[in-house]
């Protein structure tokens, strides 16, 4: 068994265990930490696939940014020793049923479909190739979605600030 195969099985074990733990634990801060572990293990997958830039983005944006945001909002809205009630039985059965039926359907489709592995020459994914293709206006260029996402990020930033801003008149009542 080579090292990359061993790493693959270890990472997938970590991902599956901790994603199940993060939706079943009754303490919300632990759920956030388990989510963090899942995201870091996913970036290990990206390193395994030789997409180093994507793995770095995953580590900084997901594991660094979003999880910190989630933990901050947990600290703002929950008492630290808060425990959830157990979910009621109908929801539990419905969730597990949907998950089992759906994953069964998708897995049978996946495992019966013949995937043709392509043996084309591997494109080296370095920063130059990514940057050139991201900002080119040619056939395989991505400059339009790049500009669109910059506008989207600006709009969502302004929206988040306005929504979360404290109303001054309300503040005096509290």
């Amino acid at each position: 068994m080579s090292l990359s195969v061993f790493m693959f099985y270890m990472l997938s074990g970590i991902i599956l265990t901790f994603s199940v733990l993060s939706i079943t634990t009754r303490r919300i801060l632990r759920a956030a930490v388990y989510l963090l572990i899942v995201l870091i293990a996913t970036s290990g997958f990206y390193f395994l696939l030789n997409y180093e830039f994507m793995a770095a983005v995953q580590l900084t944006l997901y594991a660094g940014g979003i999880v910190v945001l989630i933990i901050f909002s947990i600290l703002l809205t929950h008492h630290i020793s808060h425990r959830f009630n157990r979910p009621n039985l109908v929801n539990l059965l419905m969730g597990i049923g949907v998950a089992v039926i759906g994953s069964g359907l998708v897995l049978t489709t996946l495992l019966t479909h013949p995937f043709m592995a392509n043996n084309a020459p591997v494109l080296s994914v370095d920063m130059t190739a990514i940057g050139n293709q991201l900002l080119s206006t040619d056939k395989n260029g991505y400059v339009l979605p790049f500009e669109l996402i910059s506008i989207l990020l600006l709009a969502s930033m302004i929206a988040a600030i306005i929504v979360a801003k404290k109303d001054k008149n309300k503040n005096s009542e509290i």
Partner: protein, 105 residues
Amino acid sequence: MIEGIAIEHFLVVSTLMFFTGICGFIIRRNLITMLMSVELILNSVNINFLVFNRYLYPDQLQGHFFSLFIVGIAAAEASVAIALIINIYRNLQNIDVENVSEMKY
């Protein structure tokens, strides 16, 4: 492609992760944990894009860019959702989905 690991192995892991996220979305009754389930779902889709890119089209970068944009959109979505959650908490003092029905009907 990677020696010794078939494409189906990656796809099985991401499928199970996706449906774990859906299960959590249905089971949980708290807005932040539901948001975390959505992050799980988005993350598993990202794995799929990159694996298809590496195994089926290794001479192109389409899947790579798609997952790059998905990560950006996920960040925007999380920031707006958390702003909304904080505002809901300020008005209702808790963030269970059952109580967020003021704007219904």
